[in-house]
């Protein structure tokens, strides 16, 4: 599966396809952005060597080399953030960071507020306390045109794909290009097919959304999220409900894209195996706060009871198996008992 590799005219790195053939110089304009991942020539980056190390109950089969991350840019940063809806606070005291070229996994049980974190990162909801910064700018201060520009530098992959059902696959991926750029029809055509090729769905460009499977829809949504070549990609439960093959493909795509595009990827997930295989940094949230953070190796060695319950999949522990009794339940029970003869 050929993955297009990035090359700006200024970089003198050679672009080579996976099969070792030189690709004729495809110079892409850097979308007019001020900073571009290609200020770091590719040769200086240590390539990832491990692809699919399986998490085997506590240790990795291959030991994974720590990738040296260029310390320049922090793309997304949460500083002591409290989030909630209305008066109700879902999470508090959240501090996390995602840097260029990093894959960051946000994990937690169901209902622990992971999607709320995603919404805060895209400025769909504002933090009740603390500071959320993207590309070094506080997003609470931004609105209108500045917010639009900011959102164009992010790609978001929704859980169900959120593809536009009235368009076909090609038009879906072309949508951001049509809305935000003025490039010609033939250029749109090239770019869209290239991105579809990167996710392996070039020959599906003509299909309607109703004709493709869930895994394919997820991949088309991924192609749509990267078509503007964003610097930050947010994935909402990318592994949920996929078969093992699609799981493998998705994980590999996420890692490869992060490396090739040099962007930061933030995964919201509760899939331990796949995310530990590709993540550089893991943050675990639960019970309304940040429970643990660290690299996958550190976390798998942690003795924190919540982390252990989560990683080992134990039914009972800090997250109780039995739903807590409430006054409303007691009242209901009394009423039912009263009704029985």
């Amino acid at each position: 599966m050929p993955l297009w590799m990035w090359q700006a005219a200024a970089c003198n790195a050679e672009s080579v396809s996976q099969r070792g053939q030189a690709i004729k110089g495809y110079a892409f304009s850097c979308s007019g952005r001020a900073t571009h991942p290609c200020d770091q020539p590719r040769a200086k980056r240590r390539p990832r060597e491990r692809r699919h190390a399986r998490y085997n109950g506590g240790e990795f089969i291959d030991s994974k080399p720590m990738t040296t991350v260029p310390s320049s840019d922090t793309i997304l940063q949460f500083a002591d953030v409290a989030l909630g809806y209305g008066d109700h606070t879902v999470l508090s005291g959240i501090s996390l960071e995602a840097r260029k070229g990093q894959v960051v996994a946000l994990m937690g049980g169901s209902g622990s507020g992971k999607t709320t974190l995603l919404r805060a990162a895209t400025a769909q909801i504002l933090a009740q306390k603390g500071r959320v910064a993207a590309f070094g700018q506080d997003i609470a201060q931004m609105e209108g045109e500045a917010l639009r520009q900011l959102r164009q530098r992010m790609g978001v992959l929704f859980q169900q794909g959120a593809l536009f059902t009235d368009l076909n696959v090609f038009e879906n991926v072309a949508f951001p290009l049509r809305e935000h750029t003025r490039i010609s029809e033939s250029q749109i055509y090239e770019r869209v097919l290239e991105k579809l090729d990167a996710v392996g769905l070039k020959a599906a460009a003509h299909l309607r959304i109703s004709e493709i499977s869930g895994g394919m829809a997820r991949r088309v949504a991924l192609a749509r999220a990267i078509v503007l070549e964003p610097e930050l990609i947010l994935y909402d439960e990318p592994f949920a409900g996929l078969d093992p093959i699609s799981l493998g493909i998705t994980a590999r795509l996420i890692r490869d894209l992060t490396d090739k595009l040099g962007c930061a990827s933030v995964l919201i997930t509760h899939d331990v195996n796949e995310s530990f295989a590709i993540a550089d940094q893991v943050y675990m949230v639960g019970q309304g706060k940040l429970i643990a953070q660290g690299s996958p190796t550190e976390l798998s060695a942690s003795q924190n009871p919540y982390v252990r319950q989560f990683l080992d999949g134990q039914p009972d522990g800090p997250i109780a198996f039995h739903y807590p009794v409430s006054p409303a339940f007691t009242t209901w029970l009394e009423q039912r008992k009263g009704r029985r003869p």
Binding site: T122, Q124, L147, R148, Q149, L150, R151, Q152, M154, V156, F158, Q159, Q160, A162, L163, F164, T165, D166, F175, P176, E179, H180
Partner: protein, 261 residues
């Protein structure tokens, strides 16, 4: 003593929620109108919507118009023949259609067919997170989704009403002249004498434009505020039909009083 208290307070809360709903509706209507520049810049989107809303409603409107014309012809003949004025059938059919039945019946059918499809489409887009995805992609969903549909509805509705009236007049002619045997010359000449272009045809046209605006706005608002569940979408489509039908009939009364006083 608590029951009347509860009844009154629930009435009060319903009125309050009704008023705030109306406020939200007006706000959405204002937002759509303000962003209507998009309709000119992306005329392709508007024309696509005119196709979905208008062309696909043409069959039901035309067939309904034909049958309404038939019925007007028959019923009109039975009544007029008691007073010896059968030859006024043409005028009766044409006046009923252009003044009232054309705009109103078309608006009711439009609400049922195009209004519900708009509501369901937008409600399901909301449920499938498509609108949130657009927002996150820095595309204003109101501009991209609502504005073209609004102008599509406003353009399609008068066209459909005119087609309804025309087909109805032809239907009346078929029944009156071809089936019953009224003199065609009397049919058309009485009609032409009785129907005034400014007072009747133009007023009917204005009515259909106003109905188009009202029905489309109600349909878009109901879809926009639908809850993202199957019941939510079904409730929203019901609301579209009920509210737009009542609104059309109410507006019809007001406009008739203003125009034909």
């Amino acid at each position: 003593m608590t029951t009347p208290f509860k009844a009154i307070s629930s009435l009060g809360s319903r009125v309050r929620s009704g008023v705030s709903n109306l406020g939200a509706f007006m706000r959405l209507a204002g937002a759509i109108l303000v962003r209507s520049g998009t309709a000119i810049r992306r005329a392709r989107l508007v024309s696509q919507q005119v196709h979905f809303i208008g062309n696909h409603s043409l069959l039901i409107i035309a067939v309904s118009g034909l049958f309404v014309g038939f019925v007007l012809g028959l019923q009109g003949y039975y009544t007029l023949s008691r007073y010896g004025s059968e030859e006024a059938l043409g005028m009766l059919v044409a006046l009923s259609l252009t003044r009232e039945l054309g705009p109103v019946v078309t608006a009711l059918l439009f609400a049922g067919r195009a209004g519900t499809s708009l509501t369901a489409e937008i409600g399901l887009m909301k449920a499938g997170e498509q609108l949130a995805a657009m927002e996150v992609m820095a595309v204003d969903p109101i501009r991209r989704v609502l504005v073209p549909r609004f102008w599509g509805g406003v353009i399609a509705m008068p066209v459909l009403a005119a087609v309804f009236s025309m087909v109805g007049v032809i239907g009346g002619w078929v029944v009156g002249v071809l089936l019953i045997g009224i003199d065609p010359g009397a049919f058309w000449s009485q009609m032409q004498e009785g129907v005034d272009v400014i007072n009747d045809v133009l007023n009917g046209f204005i009515k259909s434009v106003v109905f188009g605006i009202a029905v489309t706005l109600v349909a878009l608002h109901a879809g926009w505020t639908a809850r993202a569940t199957p019941e939510g979408v079904s409730r929203a489509t019901t609301r579209t039909v009920v509210v737009s039908s009542l609104l059309v009939l109410g507006l019809d009364f007001v406009m008739t009083a203003l125009m034909f006083s």
